[in-house]
Symmetry: C2
Subunit: 325 residues, 2 copies
């Protein structure tokens, strides 16, 4: 699957849907959304929705509003996540709340959240019946509710937690969210019997993606302008949790003290110190292995799904976990 080629082919369809709901010109709202949405987004989520729908036999454009809604859902989360994590940089540019101020940052995200539902309800324009639209809306609400619950757990974990807490958090935060695209496609293709299995796939590939992301933060950064940002934010990633369970009491104190500092007070030396301890106790390897194991589990689930989905889902599973290794 050539994601760049597909993006070029479908980009205007997705953006056409988004433009239909973001069609105002109120300063610090519509310009802020455009600023955020244009910042290098690959429209991966909407492409996944469309290709899944087509693989399941969809030959019309009924999927477009839902596909665009998935894109807006993702970007709404990013706008608010940056506030919640005090991240000032997104995709190597100032985050929305930094550029437009905190008040607009919160409000812009809220507006986008509403547009997710407005977009799904546009499905009617493509001939989707009301009962199916309600199913799509339910899938969307379930996803955003689970993701917000996971986000709470993530913020709570700044104060500490076990690997079990971490896994619970990451399953909530990413388990539904990455595959809601495919769930919507299955509903629209009249293949609701696939939904549970797709969610099960998501509950494996989501954490695999997140753990990979946690590893990447230490090796090449996540487009937030620096390496080790998670350490500065005091995030209890699976790497940190593993290391804290293995290291000596005095090392544990060092790590906890560094994670407890504000991002501004955490020095480059602090980050290096934590990375050295993660390496010493094999925590990076541990996390990589865990991500690979969950990727394998996700791939085992693919085999239980209809063959027409295999290539697409294999691609997606590889793309999420391997792309930046």
């Amino acid at each position: 699957m050539d994601i760049e080629k597909l993006t070029k082919e479908k980009y205007h369809l997705i953006d056409g849907e988004m433009n239909a709901v973001f069609n105002g010109n109120i300063p610090n709202l519509h310009d802020a959304i455009q600023y955020h949405m244009e910042t290098g987004g690959k429209r991966l989520r909407s492409i996944l929705a469309i290709t899944t729908y087509e693989a399941l036999g969809g030959r019309d454009e009924k999927i477009l509003p839902f596909a665009a809604a998935c894109e807006v859902l993702h970007n709404w989360f990013l706008v608010h996540d940056d506030i919640e994590d005090a991240d000032r940089v997104r995709r190597d540019k100032p985050a929305v709340w930094v550029k437009y101020g905190l008040a607009h940052g919160v409000n812009v995200g809220d507006y986008m959240a509403q547009k997710v539902f407005e977009l799904v309800m546009r499905s009617k324009l493509y001939g989707v019946d009301d009962a199916t639209t309600i199913k799509l809306l339910n899938a969307m609400v379930t996803t955003s509710v689970k993701t917000s619950e996971g986000q709470t757990m993530d913020i709570n974990m700044r104060k500490g937690g076990t690997e079990k807490d971490y896994m619970n958090m990451v399953m909530s935060k990413t388990g539904h969210y990455l595959t809601v695209t495919m769930v919507g496609a299955a509903i629209l293709a009249g293949r609701e019997e696939l939904v549970d299995m797709l969610i099960e796939f998501g509950r494996n590939i989501g954490p695999a993606f997140q753990i990979t992301d946690d590893v990447l933060d230490l090796t090449e950064g996540k487009g937030r302008g620096e390496i080790g940002r998670d350490i500065k934010e005091g995030k209890r990633s699976i790497l940190i949790i593993h290391c804290l369970g293995k290291c000596m009491p005095q090392e544990k104190k060092i790590i906890s003290d560094i994670l407890g500092k504000t991002p501004e007070d955490t020095t480059g030396g602090d980050v290096e110190m934590v990375v050295a301890l993660l390496k010493k106790y094999g925590s990076i390897e541990y996390a990589k292995n865990k991500a690979e194991q969950m990727q394998r589990d996700a791939k085992a689930i693919i085999k239980k799904l209809p063959p027409e989905l295999h290539e697409l889902m294999e691609f997606f599973a590889d793309y999420l976990v391997n792309r930046r290794k």
Copy 2:
């Protein structure tokens, strides 16, 4: 209409619906919602939805999920508004973001926003058909989108604006929001022909309410622990706009300088100075007259609506504008 009596009678029904969707126990999420919802809320919005539905002949409980959704919509806005306005006190208690931190504050509001839609979709459990549920969802999205647009304009107006800008802002921010309760009731009662007129009523009573609120901020405060909070926040209320249009250049500079200060830097003396100028130029009277004019316009619209709604809407129009004069 005895709002206290009705609240006592219906409170458990509304809260039953809300408890059904806020039924988790994730720390800093469900406790935060409970903390916020319990802080002296009168459940006015849900009572209005129920009484409107009953006045239009509704004899079942189909309105309950929508009524509860209106309550959650209102409270979600309050949680995020306090962040956007840097208000630390809500109903004489610490605001959610102050008590639970900014990250949770943003996330709690997002969660509540999702639950608005989850609640509306619970209407099915009371026998509401899919087509009607979609209509209710559309009414809700239209309302929240308009309110967010108005909120953008409100934040923008901190840098200045005309009375026309103010009226545009306040119509967007409050025009749909206060009467979505009645709109939902009309839809569920099969009286969709009333919707446009109810919105027209809202576009008059909403601004009347907001202008009254702006006056109250100067005379007795809005439960935010102080008088003249809007001046500290630099809000360009209709009073300020009126005064700036009348006063001498040096007075204009004094007002602009005080509004330009941060809330922390604005002294009690600053607030008194602005209030003195508002009085000198009759801006408080002007605002009161404007609110009363719009209240009269709203009441003129009531007369065009079916007689069974008159008592209820007269009460509501008086309650919003006169209650704390």
